[in-house]
Symmetry: C2
Subunit: 430 residues, 2 copies
C-alpha cells in the first residue's frame, strides 16, 4: 500500500481527541480511499498522564512541540490547541518546514490568515481551515471554489452557537439573559467565562475569516464593529415578536463597491419569516449573496467534537491526496486592501426602547429630538407603565436613517429630563 | 499573459446563453485570477441566425458538433444542451479526446455518470457537474470533498423548484393542482409539457446523481421509486396543516448498512417545524446526514440562467486551474454495487384519506382491515360530509407500519362496498 501519510496533532483536547478518535476508527476506510495508510503519528499534549476520551498509544504522546515540528516523518500537522499563541508560532514553523497544516483556529486565521497563506504558498504547501468557521458546515471551500465565479456582495451569518442558544431560550421562554446563560453553561454550551461568545469576539473572528476570503482582502478582527447580547431583556423579545421580528446575533459583511466594506457583529431585528430567523438553538447558518447565484445558505451544527472533526478530516484527506498525487496547492492571490466603512454611514431602520416619565408632553419632546436630526419615526408604541415609579416604556421604530443621525438623536434623548434611560437600540435587517 | 484557455459551448439556450453572457462580462476578471485569458472559443447552435439573449460574435457559432469536438484548440467543453442524446455522445467524444467537460445535464449524469467519470479518469481529465443538481447551490463538490470524512447516512432534498412552487401555492392559497400548475406555467416556472417535473422524473435524476456520489455506487434513475404530485388535493393540504404537517415532494436516499439502500421520490407529510418544511417557492434545499457532521443543509435557487452559470463557471475555473497548474484530476473510485431495498420494506407512519358511505358501522369495517394486516391506527378524523351524496371523508394516521402491510390494507379497504375511494396515501417523514 506504500508508505503511510503521517498526521501529527497539536493538542488533544475536545477537538483533538475527536480527530484522534475518528482517525483510529476510520483509518482503514480512509486508507482504502487514498491507496496509502493514513496514521496518527504523534500528538502534543500538556500532561501525558491525564485520562482522555480517546485511547491513543502513550508512545505517540509528547510534551515538546519540537518533537513534532522537527520530525521529518510528519506530513500533515493538525493544530487543535486554540488560542493565538503558541498555536500561531507552531503553525508558522510547520509551514516554514514545508508541512501541510490543517487548523480549526479562528483566532489565528482571523489575525494571521493572509500571512500564513502567503507563507504556505511560498513553501508550495497549503494551510486548510474549513473547521475554523461553522464547525462541520462546509463554507470555507464552497466560498473559495464553488462560488468562485461570483462577485460576493454580502455575507450574513449566525456563527456563534452559544449566543444563538441563549437568544433562542430568551425568545421561547421569556428567560432573562443571566438565566439563559446559566442554563447554557450547565449544558456545556457556554464556557465558565463566557465573554468570548456573549461579547461577540468569537463571531467577529469568524466574520473576519469569511469576509476576508469572500472579498479577497484582510479584515482584521478588531476592525469588525462589535456589540454583544448582554443588554437584551425579555421585554425586547416580546416587543420584537409583536412587531413581527426575531432577535438574532448576526455577523454581517457587505461590499459597497467603491464605497468600501461594512463588517459588523451585533444583535438585530430580523423578520420572523426570514430563513436566518428560523435558525434555532446551537445551529449555525451562513447566507452568502453572490451576483450570479443570488442567496445560498449553509446550515448545520456549528460546534462539537465530531462535526469539527468532519471538517478537519476532510482537509486532512485533501492534503493527503495533494501529497500522494503531487497536486500543487490551491492558487493564492494576495489580498487587496479595501477601506472599511465607518458604522456612522450605515443606513438602517432602528428599534429604540426607552423608559420615560409617564406624563403628558413627553412624546412631543422625544419626537422633537428625532425631527431635529432628520430621523423619521415609523411607529411609536407606548408599552406597559410602571404606576409606582410613574414611568412608561416607549418603543420607537424609525424609517431608514443614518446611524450617525440615530446616535445623535439618542444622545439628545438621553439628556431630556423626562427620559429615565434608553434601554435597547437595535438595527433592523430585512 | 500566456495562451488563452478556450471554452466551447454545446448549446446556446437559456443555460448556454447565461454562461456566454457571464464569460463575456467577467472574462477579464477571471483572466486576472487565472493568470491566463479565459475565452469563449466556439458555440454549437441549431440555427445561427436566431436572435439570442447574448451578443456572441457570429463567427464563433457553428452548427456542427465536430467543429468543436475535433478542434484541438478547445480545452474545456461546456455541455448545456440538456436531454440524453446527442449530449451524452458529445460528452463521451470530448472526454475521449482528452477535453475537460463541464455539464449541467442531470439526465446524462444520472444514467451515465459512473461510466463517464471512469472514461475521464482513464483520459487523465475530469467531468465536472456541479450544475446538474440544485442550480447554483454548492452540493456536488461539498459531498465529494468537504463531507468526505463522513459515512453519509441519508439525503433528503427538495430538488425540483417547479413542484415546490406548485405545492407552496396549493398550501398557501388552497389552489387546486391544475390551477397552481397553470400559474407556474404562466410564470415560466413550469414547462408547457410539465410531466418531467410533476411526475418526479427530474427529481429522480437528481437523486440518482446525489445518492450515487454519497454512497459511491450507481443508482440508475429508473431504480428510484417515484410518485408525482398530481393526485394531491386542496383538502390534503388542509388536513395536513391541521395535523401539524406540510406536504413536500421529497427526494430521499438512505443507507441501511447491510440492508441496502432506499431511494425514493414522492410527496410526504413533514412536520411544519422541520427545516425542509419551510423551504418555499422555487427554492431548493438538500439535507445531508453524515456519521460525523450530523445534519447539514444547503439551500438556494435551484434553477435559473445565472445561478446555473454560477455553478458551471465555478467548474470551468476549476478545470482551467487544473490545466494551467498541471493539477491531476480528482481521484476516482469505481462505484460498488449496493442492493436497493424494495419499497415494501419501508417502515413509516402513513396518512390515508378516503371517501366512505356516511352511515353507522363503516369505521368498524375499515378498522377491521387495518387490524387484519397489523397496521395500528394512531388517529381517525371524520371530516366534512357530503349530505347529498351521503358520503363522508375519513383521514387515518397510522403508527409506524410496513409499506407492504399498508398497501395490502388499502387494497382490502378499496374492496369494501362502503368505501367510495381511497383518495390520497402519503408517507410521513419525521
Amino acid at each position: 500500500m506504500g508508505e503511510s501519510i503521517n498526521v501529527a496533532l497539536l493538542g488533544l483536547g475536545v477537538v483533538g481527541s475527536g480527530v484522534a478518535r475518528v482517525l483510529l476508527a476510520k483509518g482503514e476506510a480512509y486508507a482504502r480511499r487514498l491507496g496509502r495508510p493514513l496514521r496518527l503519528h504523534k500528538a502534543l499534549v500538556r500532561d501525558p498522564r491525564r485520562p482522555r476520551a480517546v485511547d491513543v498509544d502513550p508512545s505517540l504522546l509528547t510534551t515538546e512541540a519540537s518533537h513534532i515540528l522537527e520530525d521529518p516523518q510528519v506530513h500533515i500537522v493538525v493544530e487543535a490547541m486554540g488560542g493565538e499563541e503558541p498555536a500561531h508560532t507552531y503553525i508558522r514553523e510547520a509551514l516554514a518546514r514545508g508541512r501541510y497544516v490543517v487548523t480549526a483556529n479562528k483566532e489565528v486565521m482571523a489575525k494571521h490568515g493572509p500571512s500564513l497563506m502567503s507563507l504556505a504558498h511560498q513553501q508550495g504547501v497549503d494551510i486548510l481551515f474549513e473547521a475554523s468557521v461553522g464547525g462541520g458546515i462546509p463554507i470555507i471551500n464552497p466560498l473559495r471554489r464553488d462560488l468562485a465565479a461570483n462577485q460576493i456582495r454580502a455575507l450574513r451569518a449566525i456563527i456563534n452557537g452559544t449566543t444563538n442558544y441563549i437568544l433562542t431560550r430568551m425568545a421561547r421562554e421569556g428567560l432573562a439573559f443571566q438565566d439563559a446563560l446559566a442554563q447554557a453553561q450547565e449544558l456545556g454550551y457556554a464556557e465558565p467565562d463566557p465573554t468570548n461568545d456573549i461579547a461577540g469576539h468569537d463571531a467577529a473572528f469568524k466574520l473576519s475569516i469569511l469576509a476576508s476570503l469572500a472579498f479577497n482582502t484582510h479584515i482584521p478582527p478588531e476592525a469588525v464593529y462589535r456589540e454583544g447580547i448582554t443588554a437584551l431583556t425579555p421585554r425586547d423579545f416580546r416587543y420584537a415578536h409583536e412587531l413581527g421580528y426575531a432577535i438574532k446575533l448576526l455577523a454581517i459583511a457587505r461590499h459597497h463597491g467603491d464605497d468600501g466594506l461594512e463588517a459588523r457583529v451585533h444583535p438585530v431585528l430580523i423578520p420572523q419569516e426570514a430563513p436566518l430567523a428560523k435558525v434555532e438553538g446551537v445551529l449555525n447558518a451562513i447566507e452568502v449573496e453572490g451576483d450570479l447565484v443570488g442567496r445560498v445558505t449553509f446550515q448545520g451544527p456549528g460546534a462539537g467534537a465530531l462535526p469539527t472533526a468532519s471538517a478537519i478530516l476532510a482537509d486532512v484527506l485533501d492534503a493527503a491526496q495533494a501529497l500522494i498525487h503531487g497536486r500543487p496547492p490551491s492558487p493564492w492571490h494576495p489580498p487587496s486592501p479595501i477601506p472599511l466603512r465607518p458604522m456612522e454611514q450605515l443606513a438602517r431602520r432602528y428599534y429604540i426602547r426607552m423608559e420615560v416619565a409617564d406624563r403628558p408632553g413627553v412624546l412631543a419632546q422625544i419626537a422633537h429630538c428625532f425631527g431635529k436630526h432628520q430621523v423619521s419615526i415609523a411607529s411609536v408604541i407606548q408599552k406597559e407603565t410602571n404606576e409606582e415609579a410613574q414611568t412608561a416604556e416607549i418603543v420607537i421604530m424609525t424609517h431608514t436613517a443614518q446611524e450617525a443621525a440615530v446616535r445623535a438623536t439618542i444622545a439628545d434623548v438621553e439628556h431630556l429630563p423626562v427620559v429615565e434611560q434608553v434601554g435597547t437600540f437595535l438595527r433592523v435587517e430585512d
